[in-house]
Protein backbone atom coordinates (compact mmCIF):
# COMPACT_ATOMS: atom_id res chain seq x y z
CA UNK A 1 0.00 0.00 0.00
CA UNK A 2 1.20 3.55 -0.82
CA UNK A 3 2.28 5.73 2.03
CA UNK A 4 3.22 8.40 -0.40
CA UNK A 5 1.51 9.08 -3.69
CA UNK A 6 2.85 12.03 -5.62
CA UNK A 7 1.41 12.84 -9.04
CA UNK A 8 2.70 15.47 -11.39
CA UNK A 9 3.82 17.88 -8.74
CA UNK A 10 5.71 21.05 -9.57
CA UNK A 11 7.23 23.68 -7.36
CA UNK A 12 8.06 27.12 -8.65
CA UNK A 13 9.85 29.82 -6.70
CA UNK A 14 9.97 33.43 -7.67
CA UNK A 15 13.49 34.77 -7.08
CA UNK A 16 13.46 38.47 -7.86
CA UNK A 17 12.14 38.64 -11.38
CA UNK A 18 13.17 35.09 -12.26
CA UNK A 19 10.99 32.00 -11.87
CA UNK A 20 12.85 28.93 -10.67
CA UNK A 21 11.31 25.53 -11.36
CA UNK A 22 12.66 23.53 -8.45
CA UNK A 23 10.50 20.52 -9.30
CA UNK A 24 8.84 19.83 -12.59
CA UNK A 25 6.09 17.28 -13.10
CA UNK A 26 7.39 14.72 -10.60
CA UNK A 27 5.45 11.50 -10.01
CA UNK A 28 6.52 9.04 -7.29
CA UNK A 29 4.88 6.35 -5.20
CA UNK A 30 6.48 4.95 -2.06
CA UNK A 31 5.09 1.89 -0.31
CA UNK A 32 5.01 1.10 3.37
CA UNK A 33 8.20 -0.61 4.50
CA UNK A 34 10.36 0.65 1.65
CA UNK A 35 13.89 2.00 2.09
CA UNK A 36 14.34 4.69 -0.55
CA UNK A 37 17.25 7.00 -1.29
CA UNK A 38 16.71 10.28 -3.13
CA UNK A 39 19.90 11.30 -4.87
CA UNK A 40 21.04 14.19 -6.93
CA UNK A 41 23.61 16.96 -7.10
CA UNK A 42 22.89 20.25 -5.37
CA UNK A 43 20.27 22.25 -7.25
CA UNK A 44 18.63 19.05 -8.49
CA UNK A 45 15.51 19.73 -6.43
CA UNK A 46 16.06 16.99 -3.88
CA UNK A 47 15.78 19.40 -0.93
CA UNK A 48 12.55 20.77 -2.34
CA UNK A 49 11.21 17.25 -2.79
CA UNK A 50 12.23 16.39 0.73
CA UNK A 51 10.46 19.48 2.15
CA UNK A 52 7.41 18.50 0.14
CA UNK A 53 7.49 14.89 1.39
CA UNK A 54 7.97 16.17 4.93
CA UNK A 55 4.89 18.41 4.65
CA UNK A 56 7.06 21.43 5.43
CA UNK A 57 6.09 22.91 2.09
CA UNK A 58 3.22 22.47 -0.36
CA UNK A 59 3.48 22.02 -4.15
CA UNK A 60 2.60 24.78 -6.60
CA UNK A 61 0.64 22.24 -8.61
CA UNK A 62 -0.03 18.51 -8.62
CA UNK A 63 -1.35 16.02 -6.11
CA UNK A 64 0.27 14.78 -2.91
CA UNK A 65 -1.52 12.08 -0.98
CA UNK A 66 -0.14 10.90 2.35
CA UNK A 67 -1.80 7.69 3.59
CA UNK A 68 -4.66 8.57 1.26
CA UNK A 69 -5.14 12.09 2.62
CA UNK A 70 -4.70 15.02 0.25
CA UNK A 71 -1.83 17.06 1.64
CA UNK A 72 -1.98 19.66 -1.15
CA UNK A 73 -5.22 20.97 0.30
CA UNK A 74 -4.27 20.97 3.98
CA UNK A 75 -4.04 24.06 6.16
CA UNK A 76 -1.15 24.89 8.50
CA UNK A 77 -2.61 23.09 11.50
CA UNK A 78 -3.28 19.89 9.56
CA UNK A 79 0.26 19.95 8.16
CA UNK A 80 1.64 20.42 11.68
CA UNK A 81 -0.37 17.43 12.87
CA UNK A 82 0.88 15.21 9.99
CA UNK A 83 4.49 16.26 10.71
CA UNK A 84 3.95 15.52 14.36
CA UNK A 85 2.30 12.10 14.07
CA UNK A 86 3.31 10.65 10.73
CA UNK A 87 6.79 11.94 9.92
CA UNK A 88 10.05 11.55 11.76
CA UNK A 89 12.73 14.00 10.67
CA UNK A 90 16.47 13.38 10.87
CA UNK A 91 18.59 16.34 9.75
CA UNK A 92 22.19 16.74 8.67
CA UNK A 93 22.84 19.26 11.48
CA UNK A 94 20.88 17.18 14.02
CA UNK A 95 18.67 20.17 14.92
CA UNK A 96 18.29 19.41 18.60
CA UNK A 97 17.10 22.06 21.05
CA UNK A 98 20.43 23.11 22.62
CA UNK A 99 19.15 24.02 26.10
CA UNK A 100 17.18 20.78 26.59
CA UNK A 101 18.61 17.42 27.58
CA UNK A 102 18.34 14.31 25.39
CA UNK A 103 15.21 13.05 27.12
CA UNK A 104 13.38 16.36 26.74
CA UNK A 105 14.40 16.62 23.07
CA UNK A 106 12.89 13.20 22.42
CA UNK A 107 9.80 14.07 24.47
CA UNK A 108 9.10 17.22 22.49
CA UNK A 109 7.02 15.70 19.64
CA UNK A 110 4.93 13.90 22.26
CA UNK A 111 4.31 17.20 24.07
CA UNK A 112 3.02 18.69 20.84
CA UNK A 113 1.03 15.49 20.28
CA UNK A 114 -0.73 15.87 23.62
CA UNK A 115 0.66 12.76 25.34
CA UNK A 116 0.58 12.88 29.14
CA UNK A 117 3.79 13.38 31.12
CA UNK A 118 4.11 9.86 32.47
CA UNK A 119 3.57 8.20 29.09
CA UNK A 120 5.91 10.72 27.45
CA UNK A 121 8.79 9.92 29.77
CA UNK A 122 8.26 6.19 29.26
CA UNK A 123 8.15 6.41 25.44
CA UNK A 124 11.09 8.82 25.24
CA UNK A 125 13.24 6.61 27.49
CA UNK A 126 12.25 3.61 25.39
CA UNK A 127 13.27 5.39 22.17
CA UNK A 128 16.62 6.45 23.66
CA UNK A 129 17.27 2.88 24.82
CA UNK A 130 16.42 1.75 21.29
CA UNK A 131 19.32 3.84 19.93
CA UNK A 132 21.60 2.74 22.79
CA UNK A 133 21.59 6.09 24.60
CA UNK A 134 19.82 4.90 27.74
CA UNK A 135 22.74 6.19 29.78
CA UNK A 136 22.83 9.66 28.19
CA UNK A 137 19.26 10.76 28.83
CA UNK A 138 20.13 13.78 30.92
CA UNK A 139 22.98 15.04 28.78
CA UNK A 140 22.52 18.17 26.75
CA UNK A 141 23.45 18.16 23.04
CA UNK A 142 26.75 19.98 23.71
CA UNK A 143 27.71 17.20 26.10
CA UNK A 144 27.26 14.54 23.39
CA UNK A 145 29.37 13.50 20.41
CA UNK A 146 28.13 14.02 16.86
CA UNK A 147 27.09 10.40 16.52
CA UNK A 148 25.29 10.50 19.83
CA UNK A 149 23.47 13.69 18.84
CA UNK A 150 22.32 12.08 15.62
CA UNK A 151 21.08 9.08 17.56
CA UNK A 152 19.11 11.41 19.86
CA UNK A 153 17.61 12.93 16.70
CA UNK A 154 16.74 9.45 15.42
CA UNK A 155 15.13 8.60 18.77
CA UNK A 156 13.10 11.83 18.45
CA UNK A 157 12.04 10.78 14.95
CA UNK A 158 11.05 7.29 16.15
CA UNK A 159 9.24 8.19 19.34
CA UNK A 160 5.87 8.93 17.72
CA UNK A 161 6.00 5.71 15.67
CA UNK A 162 5.65 7.65 12.43
CA UNK A 163 4.65 6.31 9.01
CA UNK A 164 7.92 7.48 7.47
CA UNK A 165 11.36 8.47 8.66
CA UNK A 166 12.76 11.26 6.52
CA UNK A 167 16.53 11.63 6.79
CA UNK A 168 18.26 14.54 5.08
CA UNK A 169 22.01 13.82 4.68
CA UNK A 170 22.06 12.15 8.11
CA UNK A 171 25.78 11.35 7.89
CA UNK A 172 26.83 14.64 6.30
CA UNK A 173 28.30 16.03 9.53
CA UNK A 174 29.80 12.78 10.80
CA UNK A 175 33.10 10.99 10.24
CA UNK A 176 33.01 7.81 8.19
CA UNK A 177 33.03 5.38 11.10
CA UNK A 178 30.24 7.16 12.97
CA UNK A 179 28.36 7.58 9.70
CA UNK A 180 28.54 3.84 9.17
CA UNK A 181 27.15 3.23 12.64
CA UNK A 182 24.24 5.53 11.87
CA UNK A 183 23.61 3.77 8.58
CA UNK A 184 23.62 0.41 10.39
CA UNK A 185 21.03 1.83 12.74
CA UNK A 186 18.83 2.82 9.79
CA UNK A 187 19.28 -0.68 8.43
CA UNK A 188 17.97 -2.10 11.70
CA UNK A 189 15.05 0.29 11.75
CA UNK A 190 14.16 -0.79 8.24
CA UNK A 191 14.28 -4.42 9.28
CA UNK A 192 11.94 -3.61 12.11
CA UNK A 193 9.41 -2.45 9.52
CA UNK A 194 9.98 1.30 9.33
CA UNK A 195 9.62 3.16 6.05
CA UNK A 196 12.79 5.15 5.43
CA UNK A 197 13.42 7.92 2.93
CA UNK A 198 17.03 9.03 2.72
CA UNK A 199 18.16 12.17 0.95
CA UNK A 200 21.85 12.18 0.05
CA UNK A 201 24.33 13.10 -2.62
CA UNK A 202 26.77 10.35 -1.72
CA UNK A 203 26.61 7.16 -3.70
CA UNK A 204 27.89 4.83 -0.96
CA UNK A 205 25.26 6.12 1.46
CA UNK A 206 22.50 5.74 -1.09
CA UNK A 207 23.58 2.15 -1.67
CA UNK A 208 22.23 1.24 1.76
CA UNK A 209 18.75 1.80 0.35
CA UNK A 210 16.75 -0.71 -1.68
CA UNK A 211 15.58 1.81 -4.22
CA UNK A 212 17.29 4.91 -5.55
CA UNK A 213 15.45 7.86 -7.09
CA UNK A 214 17.83 10.11 -9.02
CA UNK A 215 16.86 13.73 -9.57
CA UNK A 216 18.40 16.19 -12.00
CA UNK A 217 17.19 19.71 -12.75
CA UNK A 218 13.88 19.17 -11.02
CA UNK A 219 12.88 16.00 -12.84
CA UNK A 220 13.31 12.31 -12.04
CA UNK A 221 16.18 11.01 -14.09
CA UNK A 222 16.07 7.44 -12.87
CA UNK A 223 14.05 5.38 -10.39
CA UNK A 224 15.52 1.91 -9.85
CA UNK A 225 15.61 -0.93 -7.37
CA UNK A 226 19.03 -1.81 -6.05
CA UNK A 227 20.33 -5.36 -6.21
CA UNK A 228 21.11 -5.99 -2.56
CA UNK A 229 24.35 -7.39 -1.36
CA UNK A 230 23.96 -9.74 1.53
CA UNK A 231 24.19 -7.69 4.69
CA UNK A 232 24.99 -9.48 7.89
CA UNK A 233 22.05 -8.59 10.12
CA UNK A 234 22.66 -8.03 13.75
CA UNK A 235 20.37 -10.26 15.71
Amino acid sequence: MNVINIRNISKTYVMGVEEVHALHDVTVQIDRGEYVAIMGPSGSGKSTLMNMLGCLDTPTSGLYEFNGANVSEMNDNDLARIRNKEIGFVFQTFNLIPRSDALHNVELPLIYGGVNAHERKRLAAEALNHVNLGDRMHHRPNELSGGQRQRVAIARALVTKPSIILADEPTGNLDTKTGDEIMTLFEELHHQGNTIILVTHEEYIAEHAHRIIRLRDGVIEKDENVQKRVIPTVA
Binding site: L56, R99, Y112
Partner: protein, 413 residues
Protein backbone atom coordinates in the same frame (compact mmCIF):
# COMPACT_ATOMS: atom_id res chain seq x y z
CA UNK B 1 -11.26 20.68 15.62
CA UNK B 2 -10.89 22.19 19.07
CA UNK B 3 -7.73 21.98 21.08
CA UNK B 4 -8.01 19.73 24.08
CA UNK B 5 -7.48 21.37 27.46
CA UNK B 6 -4.79 18.82 28.24
CA UNK B 7 -2.90 19.77 25.06
CA UNK B 8 -3.11 23.39 26.07
CA UNK B 9 -1.82 22.57 29.55
CA UNK B 10 1.17 20.62 28.13
CA UNK B 11 2.00 23.46 25.76
CA UNK B 12 1.62 26.05 28.52
CA UNK B 13 3.92 24.07 30.78
CA UNK B 14 6.43 23.63 27.98
CA UNK B 15 6.15 27.37 27.24
CA UNK B 16 6.93 28.18 30.88
CA UNK B 17 9.92 25.84 30.91
CA UNK B 18 11.26 27.36 27.68
CA UNK B 19 10.82 30.92 28.94
CA UNK B 20 12.63 30.24 32.20
CA UNK B 21 15.50 28.66 30.32
CA UNK B 22 15.60 31.64 27.97
CA UNK B 23 15.40 34.23 30.74
CA UNK B 24 18.06 32.42 32.75
CA UNK B 25 20.31 32.33 29.71
CA UNK B 26 20.00 36.15 29.36
CA UNK B 27 19.71 37.32 32.96
CA UNK B 28 21.15 40.80 32.54
CA UNK B 29 19.25 41.54 29.36
CA UNK B 30 16.01 40.34 30.90
CA UNK B 31 16.36 42.45 34.02
CA UNK B 32 17.23 45.58 32.05
CA UNK B 33 14.29 44.98 29.75
CA UNK B 34 11.88 44.94 32.64
CA UNK B 35 13.06 48.30 34.00
CA UNK B 36 10.06 50.19 32.61
CA UNK B 37 7.71 47.63 34.12
CA UNK B 38 9.56 47.88 37.43
CA UNK B 39 9.09 51.66 37.52
CA UNK B 40 5.45 51.33 36.48
CA UNK B 41 4.71 48.79 39.17
CA UNK B 42 6.57 50.79 41.83
CA UNK B 43 4.51 53.83 40.92
CA UNK B 44 1.22 51.92 40.91
CA UNK B 45 1.87 50.30 44.28
CA UNK B 46 3.15 53.49 45.91
CA UNK B 47 0.20 55.44 44.55
CA UNK B 48 -2.14 52.81 45.93
CA UNK B 49 -0.36 52.97 49.26
CA UNK B 50 -0.46 56.78 49.34
CA UNK B 51 -4.16 56.89 48.50
CA UNK B 52 -4.78 54.28 51.17
CA UNK B 53 -2.87 56.49 53.63
CA UNK B 54 -4.69 59.66 52.60
CA UNK B 55 -8.08 58.11 53.00
CA UNK B 56 -7.08 56.50 56.28
CA UNK B 57 -5.93 59.86 57.64
CA UNK B 58 -9.01 61.51 56.30
CA UNK B 59 -11.33 58.89 57.76
CA UNK B 60 -9.57 59.42 61.06
CA UNK B 61 -10.30 63.13 60.94
CA UNK B 62 -13.76 62.72 59.57
CA UNK B 63 -14.73 60.35 62.35
CA UNK B 64 -14.03 63.21 64.76
CA UNK B 65 -16.66 65.24 62.98
CA UNK B 66 -19.05 62.34 63.49
CA UNK B 67 -21.10 60.86 60.69
CA UNK B 68 -24.28 61.06 62.74
CA UNK B 69 -23.89 64.67 63.84
CA UNK B 70 -25.66 67.60 62.17
CA UNK B 71 -24.32 71.12 62.51
CA UNK B 72 -26.89 73.93 62.46
CA UNK B 73 -25.06 77.08 61.37
CA UNK B 74 -25.54 80.32 59.49
CA UNK B 75 -23.03 79.28 56.82
CA UNK B 76 -22.97 76.17 54.69
CA UNK B 77 -19.55 74.41 54.71
CA UNK B 78 -19.21 74.16 50.97
CA UNK B 79 -20.75 75.71 47.91
CA UNK B 80 -22.65 78.95 47.50
CA UNK B 81 -19.63 80.99 46.39
CA UNK B 82 -20.53 84.60 45.65
CA UNK B 83 -23.47 84.53 48.01
CA UNK B 84 -21.43 85.76 50.91
CA UNK B 85 -23.71 88.72 51.58
CA UNK B 86 -26.76 86.55 51.73
CA UNK B 87 -25.24 84.33 54.42
CA UNK B 88 -23.76 87.28 56.31
CA UNK B 89 -27.09 89.05 56.51
CA UNK B 90 -28.87 86.06 57.98
CA UNK B 91 -30.12 86.36 61.52
CA UNK B 92 -27.80 84.78 64.05
CA UNK B 93 -28.83 81.48 65.55
CA UNK B 94 -29.82 82.04 69.15
CA UNK B 95 -30.56 80.02 72.28
CA UNK B 96 -34.38 80.00 71.87
CA UNK B 97 -33.89 78.00 68.67
CA UNK B 98 -31.80 75.48 70.58
CA UNK B 99 -34.57 75.30 73.20
CA UNK B 100 -37.10 74.67 70.41
CA UNK B 101 -35.02 71.78 69.10
CA UNK B 102 -34.60 70.30 72.55
CA UNK B 103 -38.35 70.56 73.14
CA UNK B 104 -39.71 69.31 69.81
CA UNK B 105 -37.16 67.07 68.12
CA UNK B 106 -37.99 63.38 68.46
CA UNK B 107 -35.26 61.81 66.29
CA UNK B 108 -32.26 63.17 68.16
CA UNK B 109 -30.09 61.59 70.81
CA UNK B 110 -28.43 64.72 72.14
CA UNK B 111 -27.88 68.34 71.21
CA UNK B 112 -25.67 71.13 72.43
CA UNK B 113 -25.48 74.81 71.66
CA UNK B 114 -21.97 75.93 70.82
CA UNK B 115 -20.32 79.33 70.94
CA UNK B 116 -16.64 80.12 70.87
CA UNK B 117 -14.10 82.83 71.54
CA UNK B 118 -10.35 83.05 71.43
CA UNK B 119 -9.82 85.05 74.61
CA UNK B 120 -6.38 84.88 76.28
CA UNK B 121 -6.08 82.21 78.96
CA UNK B 122 -3.88 82.58 82.04
CA UNK B 123 -2.92 80.64 85.15
CA UNK B 124 -0.52 82.31 87.56
CA UNK B 125 2.48 83.20 85.37
CA UNK B 126 1.54 80.75 82.57
CA UNK B 127 -0.52 81.84 79.62
CA UNK B 128 -1.69 79.96 76.59
CA UNK B 129 -2.23 81.43 73.13
CA UNK B 130 -4.86 80.65 70.54
CA UNK B 131 -7.03 78.67 72.89
CA UNK B 132 -10.61 78.27 71.73
CA UNK B 133 -13.01 78.65 74.61
CA UNK B 134 -16.31 76.97 73.88
CA UNK B 135 -19.64 77.40 75.54
CA UNK B 136 -21.67 74.21 75.55
CA UNK B 137 -24.13 72.26 77.66
CA UNK B 138 -23.72 69.00 79.53
CA UNK B 139 -24.29 66.98 76.33
CA UNK B 140 -21.06 68.19 74.74
CA UNK B 141 -19.25 64.89 75.39
CA UNK B 142 -22.05 62.85 73.83
CA UNK B 143 -22.45 64.93 70.68
CA UNK B 144 -18.73 65.43 70.19
CA UNK B 145 -17.81 61.83 70.86
CA UNK B 146 -15.28 63.02 73.44
CA UNK B 147 -14.29 61.25 76.65
CA UNK B 148 -12.72 62.46 79.85
CA UNK B 149 -9.11 61.82 80.84
CA UNK B 150 -9.61 62.67 84.51
CA UNK B 151 -11.87 64.80 86.68
CA UNK B 152 -15.45 65.18 85.42
CA UNK B 153 -17.61 67.15 83.00
CA UNK B 154 -20.24 69.60 84.24
CA UNK B 155 -23.78 68.34 84.77
CA UNK B 156 -27.13 69.76 83.63
CA UNK B 157 -27.68 71.86 86.73
CA UNK B 158 -24.23 73.42 86.47
CA UNK B 159 -24.77 74.01 82.77
CA UNK B 160 -28.19 75.64 83.21
CA UNK B 161 -26.90 77.70 86.12
CA UNK B 162 -23.93 78.96 84.11
CA UNK B 163 -21.47 78.07 86.85
CA UNK B 164 -17.91 79.49 86.54
CA UNK B 165 -16.34 76.11 85.98
CA UNK B 166 -14.44 74.70 83.03
CA UNK B 167 -13.11 71.51 81.42
CA UNK B 168 -9.69 71.66 79.68
CA UNK B 169 -8.44 70.08 76.50
CA UNK B 170 -5.27 68.02 76.99
CA UNK B 171 -3.03 70.55 75.24
CA UNK B 172 -4.30 73.45 77.36
CA UNK B 173 -3.82 71.37 80.50
CA UNK B 174 -0.22 70.58 79.55
CA UNK B 175 0.59 74.21 78.71
CA UNK B 176 -0.92 75.77 81.84
CA UNK B 177 -0.13 73.04 84.31
CA UNK B 178 3.18 71.49 83.33
CA UNK B 179 4.04 70.43 86.89
CA UNK B 180 0.83 70.23 88.89
CA UNK B 181 -2.69 68.91 88.67
CA UNK B 182 -5.15 71.38 87.17
CA UNK B 183 -8.11 70.02 89.16
CA UNK B 184 -9.54 72.63 91.53
CA UNK B 185 -7.29 75.39 90.19
CA UNK B 186 -8.72 78.68 89.04
CA UNK B 187 -7.79 80.02 85.62
CA UNK B 188 -8.54 83.31 83.95
CA UNK B 189 -10.20 83.43 80.53
CA UNK B 190 -10.35 86.99 79.29
CA UNK B 191 -11.47 88.87 82.36
CA UNK B 192 -13.41 86.06 84.02
CA UNK B 193 -12.25 83.28 86.29
CA UNK B 194 -13.18 79.60 86.06
CA UNK B 195 -12.43 76.63 88.26
CA UNK B 196 -11.05 73.54 86.49
CA UNK B 197 -13.11 70.40 87.18
CA UNK B 198 -11.74 68.01 84.53
CA UNK B 199 -9.44 67.35 81.59
CA UNK B 200 -10.55 65.72 78.34
CA UNK B 201 -8.73 62.92 76.57
CA UNK B 202 -6.39 63.75 73.69
CA UNK B 203 -8.24 63.90 70.37
CA UNK B 204 -5.64 65.00 67.83
CA UNK B 205 -6.42 67.43 65.07
CA UNK B 206 -8.93 67.98 62.33
CA UNK B 207 -7.22 67.34 58.94
CA UNK B 208 -3.94 68.18 60.65
CA UNK B 209 -4.84 71.87 60.95
CA UNK B 210 -7.21 72.62 63.83
CA UNK B 211 -6.13 71.08 67.13
CA UNK B 212 -9.05 69.63 69.05
CA UNK B 213 -7.03 69.65 72.26
CA UNK B 214 -6.28 73.36 72.49
CA UNK B 215 -9.78 74.02 73.80
CA UNK B 216 -11.65 74.83 76.98
CA UNK B 217 -15.34 74.07 77.49
CA UNK B 218 -17.47 76.16 79.86
CA UNK B 219 -21.27 76.11 80.51
CA UNK B 220 -23.05 77.98 77.69
CA UNK B 221 -25.19 80.15 79.97
CA UNK B 222 -22.10 81.45 81.75
CA UNK B 223 -20.31 81.85 78.42
CA UNK B 224 -23.05 84.11 77.02
CA UNK B 225 -23.19 86.14 80.20
CA UNK B 226 -19.41 86.71 80.29
CA UNK B 227 -18.39 86.89 76.67
CA UNK B 228 -21.39 88.57 75.10
CA UNK B 229 -25.13 88.05 74.97
CA UNK B 230 -25.50 89.14 71.37
CA UNK B 231 -23.24 86.66 69.68
CA UNK B 232 -24.72 83.87 67.61
CA UNK B 233 -24.33 80.21 68.38
CA UNK B 234 -24.27 76.99 66.42
CA UNK B 235 -26.15 73.88 67.39
CA UNK B 236 -24.62 70.41 67.21
CA UNK B 237 -27.19 67.63 67.03
CA UNK B 238 -26.48 63.91 67.24
CA UNK B 239 -29.10 61.78 65.50
CA UNK B 240 -30.64 58.92 67.46
CA UNK B 241 -30.06 56.60 64.52
CA UNK B 242 -27.65 57.31 61.67
CA UNK B 243 -30.00 55.46 59.30
CA UNK B 244 -32.57 58.22 59.89
CA UNK B 245 -30.11 61.05 59.33
CA UNK B 246 -32.12 62.51 56.44
CA UNK B 247 -35.35 62.38 58.44
CA UNK B 248 -33.60 63.94 61.40
CA UNK B 249 -32.38 66.71 59.14
CA UNK B 250 -35.90 67.29 57.80
CA UNK B 251 -37.31 67.41 61.32
CA UNK B 252 -34.69 69.96 62.38
CA UNK B 253 -35.43 72.02 59.31
CA UNK B 254 -39.12 72.17 60.19
CA UNK B 255 -38.46 73.15 63.80
CA UNK B 256 -35.93 75.81 62.83
CA UNK B 257 -38.08 77.35 60.09
CA UNK B 258 -40.89 77.71 62.61
CA UNK B 259 -38.63 79.04 65.36
CA UNK B 260 -36.99 81.51 62.97
CA UNK B 261 -40.35 82.53 61.45
CA UNK B 262 -39.40 81.66 57.87
CA UNK B 263 -42.46 82.19 55.64
CA UNK B 264 -43.77 78.99 53.97
CA UNK B 265 -42.46 80.02 50.54
CA UNK B 266 -39.20 81.46 51.90
CA UNK B 267 -35.78 79.91 51.54
CA UNK B 268 -34.07 78.45 54.65
CA UNK B 269 -32.10 81.19 56.40
CA UNK B 270 -29.73 78.69 58.03
CA UNK B 271 -27.64 75.69 56.99
CA UNK B 272 -27.62 72.16 58.34
CA UNK B 273 -24.11 70.87 57.68
CA UNK B 274 -22.94 67.28 57.86
CA UNK B 275 -19.84 65.14 57.44
CA UNK B 276 -20.88 63.98 53.98
CA UNK B 277 -19.95 67.40 52.56
CA UNK B 278 -16.35 66.79 53.65
CA UNK B 279 -16.38 63.33 52.14
CA UNK B 280 -17.50 64.70 48.79
CA UNK B 281 -14.73 67.29 48.77
CA UNK B 282 -12.17 64.70 49.80
CA UNK B 283 -13.25 62.33 47.06
CA UNK B 284 -12.69 65.08 44.53
CA UNK B 285 -9.12 65.61 45.83
CA UNK B 286 -8.52 61.84 45.89
CA UNK B 287 -9.60 61.61 42.26
CA UNK B 288 -7.02 64.21 41.24
CA UNK B 289 -4.23 62.36 43.11
CA UNK B 290 -5.28 59.06 41.56
CA UNK B 291 -5.44 60.66 38.13
CA UNK B 292 -1.86 61.94 38.32
CA UNK B 293 -0.66 58.58 39.66
CA UNK B 294 -2.47 56.75 36.92
CA UNK B 295 -0.84 58.94 34.29
CA UNK B 296 2.69 58.28 35.60
CA UNK B 297 1.93 54.58 35.88
CA UNK B 298 0.48 54.35 32.39
CA UNK B 299 3.44 56.20 30.92
CA UNK B 300 6.09 53.99 32.51
CA UNK B 301 4.15 50.81 31.72
CA UNK B 302 3.96 51.96 28.11
CA UNK B 303 7.73 52.47 28.02
CA UNK B 304 8.13 49.06 29.67
CA UNK B 305 5.86 47.45 27.10
CA UNK B 306 7.90 48.88 24.23
CA UNK B 307 11.07 47.53 25.87
CA UNK B 308 9.63 44.05 26.16
CA UNK B 309 8.31 44.12 22.62
CA UNK B 310 11.75 45.09 21.37
CA UNK B 311 13.58 42.35 23.27
CA UNK B 312 11.01 39.78 22.18
CA UNK B 313 11.62 40.67 18.53
CA UNK B 314 15.34 40.12 19.19
CA UNK B 315 14.55 36.84 20.91
CA UNK B 316 12.39 35.63 18.01
CA UNK B 317 15.14 36.43 15.52
CA UNK B 318 17.79 34.70 17.63
CA UNK B 319 15.67 31.59 17.90
CA UNK B 320 14.48 31.39 14.30
CA UNK B 321 16.21 28.05 13.81
CA UNK B 322 14.70 26.66 16.99
CA UNK B 323 11.25 27.77 15.86
CA UNK B 324 11.87 25.90 12.59
CA UNK B 325 12.84 22.74 14.48
CA UNK B 326 9.77 22.95 16.69
CA UNK B 327 7.54 23.43 13.68
CA UNK B 328 9.15 20.49 11.87
CA UNK B 329 8.34 18.15 14.74
CA UNK B 330 4.75 19.28 15.01
CA UNK B 331 4.41 22.62 16.82
CA UNK B 332 1.39 24.47 15.46
CA UNK B 333 1.23 28.23 14.95
CA UNK B 334 -0.77 28.52 18.13
CA UNK B 335 1.89 26.52 19.99
CA UNK B 336 4.64 28.94 18.97
CA UNK B 337 2.39 31.94 19.64
CA UNK B 338 1.66 30.67 23.13
CA UNK B 339 5.32 29.92 23.79
CA UNK B 340 6.41 33.50 23.09
CA UNK B 341 3.42 35.06 24.84
CA UNK B 342 4.26 33.05 27.93
CA UNK B 343 7.85 34.24 27.66
CA UNK B 344 6.96 37.92 27.41
CA UNK B 345 4.40 37.58 30.21
CA UNK B 346 7.00 35.89 32.42
CA UNK B 347 9.49 38.61 31.63
CA UNK B 348 6.99 41.30 32.53
CA UNK B 349 5.90 39.42 35.63
CA UNK B 350 9.50 39.31 36.83
CA UNK B 351 9.58 43.10 36.40
CA UNK B 352 6.35 43.31 38.38
CA UNK B 353 7.73 41.20 41.19
CA UNK B 354 10.93 43.26 41.33
CA UNK B 355 8.73 46.36 41.42
CA UNK B 356 6.73 45.01 44.35
CA UNK B 357 9.92 44.08 46.20
CA UNK B 358 11.25 47.64 45.71
CA UNK B 359 7.92 49.21 46.67
CA UNK B 360 7.71 47.46 50.00
CA UNK B 361 10.51 49.37 51.81
CA UNK B 362 9.35 52.56 50.06
CA UNK B 363 5.85 52.05 51.42
CA UNK B 364 7.36 51.77 54.91
CA UNK B 365 8.99 55.13 54.21
CA UNK B 366 5.64 56.61 53.18
CA UNK B 367 4.29 55.19 56.41
CA UNK B 368 6.60 57.54 58.32
CA UNK B 369 4.79 60.53 56.85
CA UNK B 370 1.33 59.15 56.42
CA UNK B 371 0.20 56.15 58.48
CA UNK B 372 -0.49 53.47 55.87
CA UNK B 373 0.47 50.05 54.60
CA UNK B 374 0.63 48.46 51.16
CA UNK B 375 -2.84 47.01 50.58
CA UNK B 376 -2.83 43.37 49.43
CA UNK B 377 -5.29 44.23 46.68
CA UNK B 378 -2.71 46.61 45.18
CA UNK B 379 -0.15 43.77 45.09
CA UNK B 380 -2.69 41.61 43.28
CA UNK B 381 -3.49 44.37 40.82
CA UNK B 382 0.23 44.99 40.19
CA UNK B 383 0.78 41.32 39.35
CA UNK B 384 -2.24 41.27 37.07
CA UNK B 385 -1.16 44.46 35.30
CA UNK B 386 2.35 43.16 34.66
CA UNK B 387 1.02 39.92 33.16
CA UNK B 388 -1.38 41.83 30.91
CA UNK B 389 1.35 44.24 29.77
CA UNK B 390 3.57 41.25 28.98
CA UNK B 391 0.93 39.51 26.91
CA UNK B 392 -0.01 42.67 25.02
CA UNK B 393 3.58 43.70 24.26
CA UNK B 394 4.57 40.15 23.34
CA UNK B 395 1.79 39.74 20.83
CA UNK B 396 3.44 41.21 17.74
CA UNK B 397 6.77 39.35 18.16
CA UNK B 398 4.97 36.11 19.04
CA UNK B 399 2.74 36.49 16.02
CA UNK B 400 5.77 36.97 13.79
CA UNK B 401 7.37 33.83 15.26
CA UNK B 402 4.22 31.79 14.74
CA UNK B 403 4.03 32.77 11.08
CA UNK B 404 7.62 31.85 10.21
CA UNK B 405 7.90 29.50 7.26
CA UNK B 406 9.38 26.24 8.62
CA UNK B 407 11.61 25.69 5.57
CA UNK B 408 13.08 29.20 5.80
CA UNK B 409 13.42 28.96 9.58
CA UNK B 410 15.27 25.64 9.42
CA UNK B 411 17.70 27.10 6.90
CA UNK B 412 18.45 30.10 9.20
CA UNK B 413 21.88 30.05 10.82
Amino acid sequence: MGMRIADFAYELKEGLAISFQAIRANKMRSVLTTLGIVIGIVSVTLMGTAIEGLSRGFNDSISKIGADVLYVQKWPWFGGEGEWWKYRNRKDIKMPQFDAIERHATLIKSATPMAGTRAPVKYKGQSSEGVLTLGANDQYLETGGVSMDFGRFFNQAESDGGRPICVLGSEVAENLFPNETPLGKTIRIGTSTFRVIGVMEKQGSLLGIESLDNRIVVPIEGFIRRFGANRGIQINVKAADIKNLDDTKEELRGILRKARHVPPTGEDDFAINQQEMFIQTFNAIGAVVAGIGLFITALSLFVGAIGIMNIMFVSVTERTKEIGIRKAIGAKRSTILLQFLVESASLSLIGGIIGIIISYPLSLLVNQILPTSMPLSVVGIAILISIIVGVVSGFLPANRASKLDPVEALRYE
